[in-house]
């Protein structure tokens, strides 16, 4: 449910939202048509008047709207510039990347939806309950995803592909991901899902046959990797692995555009965290074995190596000509962690060491692989249009979530200093409009960075600021969720002798985060709408493209209203779809809750 920016449930929004969700539940009645008309349109004399007056007005409005859209409107500026609207100044020769990215995202969405099902079944198994069944209503929401994809694909496909072919590929990729993640255990469905793992080859073949001059071996290499990953999902019965591989597809789709340089190893490692945790924990029960010691040592080695040979991230914030090399800070922090893990391992309590070690190995491996492949990316500045709005929203929500979580925990902390710091940050950010922060990004953020690194692009600066902004709002949402968890849960944890950290991690947070999913979607929608403000500081996002279109000679005075209606429609379609989906999600979460 979306209430503008946010209403934290503790501020009275909770009651309201619950009542709305209850009222919006679909209901069925068995009335005849005559009864319905009488009770809904003409039950009293004033209702009859209202029906006639507003009915007439409504019909007239519909008529004029239809006449405008179908007859009088000049859609030429939109039709000619569809591609510009959707992807901005993205280079034309690189369209293939967009198609591959669309396939990758679709596959990832399929995998992640399938992962939810897989997880539900897994948990039901653990608890000894009946596994949930898949109903067709469950995937009804895909309709909206598809209608969105139509829009995107129309833009991509204008002069390269037939749009419906790309769309078909997207649907196929999503279906393949979903089927593989679902892992049916019997019947012909088993064979179908194994076959589904080879869909990437099919898609690659299709892409290559449509763009002949692209034919090369690396395309098939990518397809082979994708297939191998899908087969892993199919044959390893662990939701964590499915999650990781879904995330890998997402990161991969992203990398197709942004290239494999710089921080890609970092994203890949993050995506692999669930699988690494699963592997580390599955290797032996209990902590404190030699594995943990080795893991901690590997991590320490990795930190030293990274600091000595790789890292240049700290230079973003500190000048190189400082007396102290900023990398040493990183070194000290990392080695501190390693010592911590070692102590845990030696005292026989913690598995932190082996997890850190495994992640180090994965990080180094992905880094090396990234260096080997070295696919060049398309620069941030060349992205634009609707694509940029979506990417900005997704990226800033993803980055802001951990920060918001920490802020929310800090605001509820019993340590007064921490609480004060977090509260002032949150209230400060929530008290000013986003546009003032964006102006800060445009004119001012550069002043806070070290003079040697003052070449951040405007888009990156805007991303930093939007992340700061949304983390404050997410913190309030999470705080509402934390407050909604009954106190008895914490007390039960204390009675069982769990440490405060464990109570938070195992009892309170899962329940709190589950409760805030709908508000998070609301925040996503709100943020998506807010990305339109980027146009004010001169980033070429969707609304900015519109202004650009009207600087073209042909459209200087033509179709100003029409392009605006198009922009409004696209924003509306995406926001409305998401809010509907979140309502559905809310209902579903409620059904089996507590």
């Amino acid at each position: 449910m979306d209430f503008g920016h946010t209403v934290a449930p503790n501020e009275g929004g909770g009651e309201v939202m619950k009542a709305l969700a209850e009222a919006d539940r679909p209901r069925h009645t068995d009335q005849s048509a005559g009864q319905w008309v009488k009770s809904n349109l003409f039950n009293t004399w004033y209702n009859s008047i209202i029906t006639v007056v507003f009915g007439t007005l409504g019909v007239l409005a519909l008529f004029f709207l239809a006449r405008f859209v179908l007859v009088t409107a000049a859609w030429e500026p939109v039709r000619v510039n569809t591609r510009l609207f959707l992807t901005g100044r993205f280079p034309r020769d690189e369209t293939t990347r967009l198609v591959v990215q669309a396939f990758g995202f679709s596959g990832a969405i399929g995998l992640l939806v399938g992962w939810r099902r897989h997880l539900a079944r897994f948990e039901a198994d653990l608890a000894g309950l009946e596994p949930p069944t898949t109903s067709i209503r469950e995937i009804g929401g895909v309709y909206w995803a598809v209608s969105l994809m139509i829009l995107v694909v129309m833009g991509i496909g204008v002069d390269t592909f037939r749009p419906w072919l790309v769309l078909l590929g997207c649907v196929l990729a999503a279906a393949a991901g979903y089927a593989v993640a679902l892992r049916p255990t019997s019947g012909p469905a088993r064979l179908v899902t194994i076959a589904a793992a080879f869909v990437p080859f099919l898609l690659t073949g299709a892409v290559l046959s449509l763009i002949p001059d692209l034919a090369n071996g690396s395309a098939y290499l990518i397809a082979a990797v994708a297939t191998a990953l899908l087969l892993v999902v199919r044959f390893v019965d662990a939701p964590a692995v499915t999650l990781s591989i879904g995330a890998l597809f997402l990161v991969g789709a992203f990398q197709v555009l942004s290239g494999t340089g710089q921080l890609s190893w970092f994203y890949l490692t993050i995506a692999l965290i669930p699988a690494a945790m699963y592997l580390a924990d599955a290797s032996e029960s209990g902590g404190g074995s030699i594995l943990d010691v080795v893991g901690a040592l590997v991590f320490a080695g990795g930190v030293v190596f990274h600091v000595l040979f790789v890292s240049d991230v700290p230079y973003l914030f500190v000048d190189g000509e400082l007396n102290q090399d900023p990398r040493w800070l990183l070194l000290i922090g990392g080695l501190g962690f390693a010592v911590f893990a070692l102590i845990g391992a030696v005292s026989g309590e913690s598995r932190l060491g082996r997890r850190l070690g495994l992640l180090t190995v994965i990080g180094v491996a992905t880094w090396q692989i990234g260096r080997l492949i070295d696919l060049e990316g398309i620069n941030w500045e060349e992205w634009g249009g609707l694509q940029l709005n979506l990417v900005m929203t997704a990226a800033s929500i993803t980055l802001a979530f951990p920060i918001g979580l920490m802020l929310a925990l800090g605001r509820r902390s019993t340590l007064p200093v921490v609480r004060l710091l977090c509260t002032s940050y949150i209230e400060l950010i929530r008290g000013v409009p986003l546009i003032s922060l964006l102006l800060m990004a445009q004119l001012f953020v550069g002043f806070f960075l070290s003079s040697g690194n003052n070449n951040l692009s405007l888009t990156t600066k805007a991303l930093i600021v939007i992340t700061m902004f949304s983390s404050a709002y997410i913190a309030e949402i999470v705080r509402g969720g934390l407050q909604a968890v009954p106190k008895g849960q914490t007390e039960a944890g204390q009675a069982m002798g769990l440490s405060p950290t464990k109570i938070m991690r195992l009892l309170v947070l899962p329940q709190a985060l589950r409760a805030v999913v709908p508000s998070m979607v609301g925040q996503f929608i709100s943020l998506f709408k807010d990305t339109s403000l980027l146009t004010i500081i001169g980033v070429l996002e969707f609304l900015g493209v519109r202004e650009n279109v009207h600087t073209q000679d042909a459209f200087r005075a033509v179709g100003r209203v029409e392009t605006l209606i198009f922009a409004a429609f696209v924003f509306w379609a995406i926001s409305f779809t998401m809010s509907r989906e979140s309502q559905r999600l809310e209902r579903r979460l409620d059904v089996g809750a507590r």
Partner: protein
Amino acid sequence: MTDTLTAPTPAPQQRSNPARPPFWRDVRVLRVLGQIAALALVVAIILLLRRNLVANVERVGIDLNLDYLSSEAQFVVRDASLERDDSVRRMILLGVQNTAAAAFVGIAVALVLGTLVGIGRLSSNWVLRKICTVYVETLRNIPPLVIIIFVGVALFTAGPLPLFTAANPPGQIKFPGTDSNLLIYSNTRSGIPSIMNADNSSVFWIVMAVALVVAVFVWLWRTKVNEKTGASHHRVLWSLGTLLGIGLVAWIALGRPVRMSFPAVSESGRVIEGGLATNDAYIALTFALALYTASHIAEIIRGSILAVAKGQNEAANALALSGSQRYRFVVLPQAARIALPSIINQFLNLTKNTSLATAVAYPEITALTQSLIGNDQPAPQSILVLMALYLTFSLCISLVLNILNRRFQLEGR
């Protein structure tokens, strides 16, 4: 029982030397250390940023002080009485005024419209329900910036409204049978009637203020009478009667100190004289923000009415209250209580959203700050002043409305 009795008493050496954990596991010590660490981290980050800031500012060569507030603004604002050589401070004050003007009117319109639509969505009439649903679902899923631009373009730039030039007089609607304008409308300037002060007006306003105080006392008195004797209070009638009665007597006695002022097209045919005149940017901004916020307020109102416990409705039914009585005395007061915090939030949002006025070039505080920076005023201070002003707005609104809220909420909630 025996277990308790024979339970071993603590060893004497333990009692003399209470089992305090070592300091690195002592919660009290750890709490202090944790806070010091957090503070140190924040201070370190701030120092780092400050260091960079100072270095960069030196490199670029601007002063980080507020002296620029007294310098000349070097630009003029449409429809404002300021000159090119007026100070930056006066520009900022103008911006604050304009922000407040847009926010107040926007909030009022949004509240009325939102309440109507919210109740409309609960109507038993299908047509009304659907129209209100379409309104809400459309407006709240479109970015406010798009709505502002849309109103600006569709109503004024490319819209049906007449031009306002010497050759082409604007549209005028007159009071029937007179020559006074009820409304002047065009695609740039518009005007409505307002009141105008004449001789003795200050005396009149003082009398009115006194009358207001008297009216409040009358209100309290009637409430007390009602509570003591049970007689109907008719508070509204009594206090309004007092206020208007005193006002009328004073108005006649002072020789009509306040009069209506009607808008009229000036002799040059370019501007509006008299009345309350405004321009397209203001109308577009206020109207668009009101439309957008109303869609959110409608949902809040609907949800709050639905959130009133069902038993309340049934109890009212059992007491044989009529439909409208049920709403007036049972449902709406409770719904208002539930809705208030969320509506406060919407007021705050609307005020912050006035910052989108750059899209229609309405000179509120953000747009003016942008102009100032564009005219070579230093960016860091200008933006910090801007943020401080918005923080002040937010704090003021939430302070006033939180006090209201505290009065409104039930005890123990």
